[in-house]
């Protein structure tokens, strides 16, 4: 085994990074080394497309959310021209963060260091005692800086600090159709991200929030035992039977560009009858089923209703669409990661259906859910364990011999296969090594 006993940060170069990722193994220094982490911020988070937020989060002029691109604070803000922009949250004068808190409404943004005022488009309106700067001072070029690139897909706003990044369409590639599965679960084809947020943090590396079809029976053994008592409670309704058996029709997929998913489609479809029975008992349930059929035709409607807006997809590097939620992953250090979870409501369905979506989300996710804290607990154990580096290698070769690749380049494996881990590491390595446009 060609194994450096311990990764040496001073040897951080293309060759050593390359040696840390092989086809079925990853060196644990990738998860523990602060030098690697710094490089990830510049090579990945400050260079590729980062998910910022959904337009429904800022419905009116002046509404803003504070977010981050890697380490850099930004605002997603709706201007007076109704355009949603991503602006650097930093006064052009002496660098003060101009918007505090998570969210708010500011048609005029005043920096309280020296009173400079911007509008919600980011234009500089006022500088107290402007004349002291002399004639050369041009207010029109002193607005809040825009992030170099901003593009959206059906309301999902992405931004990049890299002016030369390829288009968002190219970046999303095969993952766009998976985002459609969430959006099209609404009979109006749109979602509302306005039901609050669960903000969680764990002491572990950001890459541990992977997309893993193998962990469920062990990490979530306690809640599976609870579901088996009452198959209609919480998320159990969407996990009837066992979607995580290799004999099941569930699959892991590597969609390319680091985007990966657990494809639970076949399993969910097999429970379509139970889903519709549950829906029909709810206010607006029958109407929802009818509208979906009219809009999408019988076959597509059946798929969309069965999935209930859950593509179970990770969009590399910081976005996941899982169950009833949009999830943002914020890397803080090699050893700390924030996971921000936004429940997703469907446009055009009854309050009762959306309230159930919120309750389903709470039951499993968030700081007191039956699932997220156990995930975080195990990630923390992984982080601690990975410091034992006599043999530093992590094994991600599961199912390597039985992968299948289709004409679009999508790689597929059984549900417990580590196709997803390999897909993410492949992208990681490409971004870490490539010093070119992306």
């Amino acid at each position: 085994m060609a194994s450096p006993l311990q990764f040496q940060p001073k040897l951080l170069n293309e060759e050593s990074i390359c040696s840390m990722v092989t086809e079925g193994r990853v060196h644990s220094g990738v998860f523990t080394d602060p030098g690697i982490f710094e490089l990830e911020i510049s090579q990945i988070f400050h260079r590729t497309w980062i998910y910022i937020g959904h337009k429904s989060e800022v419905p009116t002029h002046g509404d803003f959310k504070t977010r981050k691109i890697g380490r850099q604070p930004v605002l997603m803000i709706r201007g007076k021209d109704d355009v949603v922009r991503v602006l650097m949250n930093r006064c052009r004068h002496r660098g003060t963060q101009v918007c505090e808190g998570e969210q708010g409404n500011a048609k005029h943004i005043r920096c309280w260091f020296h009173g400079w005022v911007y509008n919600a488009n980011g234009e500089l309106l006022e500088v107290p005692m402007l004349e002291a700067y002399g004639d050369g001072f041009d207010k029109s070029v002193m607005g809040l800086n825009q992030a170099p690139r901003v593009e959206e897909y059906r309301g999902f706003v992405f931004s990049s600090l890299n002016p030369d990044v390829p288009s968002l369409t190219d970046h999303l590639g095969n993952a766009r159709a998976m985002m459609d599965l969430m959006l099209d679960a609404s009979p109006k084809g749109d979602i509302q991200v306005n039901a609050g947020v669960h903000k969680t943090v764990y002491q572990g590396n950001w890459k541990l929030v992977g997309m893993d079809g193998y962990h469920v029976k062990y990490v979530h053994a306690s809640v599976i035992a609870a579901w088996n008592r009452n198959p209609d409670s919480g998320l159990a309704a969407t996990h009837r039977g066992d979607p995580f058996e290799d004999e099941s029709a569930s699959r892991t997929r590597d969609l390319g560009n680091g985007h990966v998913m657990l494809d639970l489609t076949e399993h969910r479809l097999s429970h379509y009858a139970q889903f519709t029975e549950m829906l029909k008992k709810m206010t607006g349930g029958q109407q929802y089923l009818d509208e979906m059929k009219t809009k999408h035709g019988e076959e597509r409607a059946k798929l969309l209703v069965s999935l209930a807006g859950d593509p179970h997809v990770g969009i590399y590097p910081n976005l996941q669409l899982i169950n009833n939620q949009i999830r943002i992953i914020n890397p803080i250090s090699a050893d700390v990661c924030e996971v921000i979870m936004f429940p997703v409501l469907l446009d055009g369905v009854s309050d009762e259906i959306n309230a159930l979506r919120i309750r389903q989300h709470e039951s499993f996710y968030g700081p007191a859910g039956s699932g997220s804290p156990d995930d975080a607990e195990i990630f923390e154990r992984v982080q601690k364990g990975m410091y034992a580096q006599v043999n530093p290698w992590l094994e991600i070769s599961r199912g390597l011999h039985r992968e299948e690749c289709d004409e679009n380049g999508v790689i597929t494996g059984k549900i417990s296969d580590e196709v997803t881990q390999r897909g993410q590491m492949k992208r990681w390595l490409a971004l870490m090594l490539d010093s070119g446009a992306e």
Partner: protein
């Protein structure tokens, strides 16, 4: 406006003892005994962000009816609830107890403060906030029909809140 504090309520001692008893059961992870304190219909609610949110339109940290609470307690009693293995070691103070309204027939609304110190895996975490109990007199003892905890940091990043708060 009255400038003197209100007179002590005649039920204060009994209610205070109930709250202290509940706190002990929660601190000691006595799930079955704690569950027995509840009425059949119940609401165990830890709002997220703010206390004024409408739970049908906004996510909460916990919004349990009886079936969700039973699932929560069942899960914690399995041996695979990893986030409570080892269990949090807890010490909570219940203070500033006030009986806001009610009587023995209709039930009481009681507000108080909690400060929970949690120790787990070499980390100490403080959880603090205001709580409201609705207490109903049933079969010669008090039962909780509602417990709402408004944590001071319910709008912040949170770690592991899987024990009974």
């Amino acid at each position: 406006m009255k400038s003197t504090p209100p007179e002590s309520h005649p039920w204060l001692n009994t209610i205070q003892e109930f709250l202290f008893f509940e706190a002990d059961l929660a601190d000691n992870h006595q799930f079955k005994d704690w569950q027995a304190l509840w009425t059949k219909d119940l609401l165990y609610w830890v709002p997220c962000h703010d206390e004024g949110v409408d739970p049908t339109h906004q996510v909460s940290i916990i919004y349990d009816d009886r079936s969700r609470l039973e699932e929560r307690l069942f899960r914690l009693q399995t041996k695979q609830a990893h986030s409570q293995n080892p269990r949090s070691r807890l010490s909570r103070s219940v203070t500033n107890i006030r009986i806001e309204s009610g009587d023995r027939e209709t039930g009481f609304k009681v507000t108080s403060r909690i400060h929970v110190v949690e120790s787990r895996l070499e980390r100490v975490t403080h959880w603090a906030g205001r709580q409201t109990h609705r207490l109903v007199w049933e079969e010669s003892v008090f039962h909780m029909s509602e417990k709402k905890i408004v944590l001071v940091n319910n709008d912040s990043l949170l770690g592991n809140l899987t024990f009974i708060i």
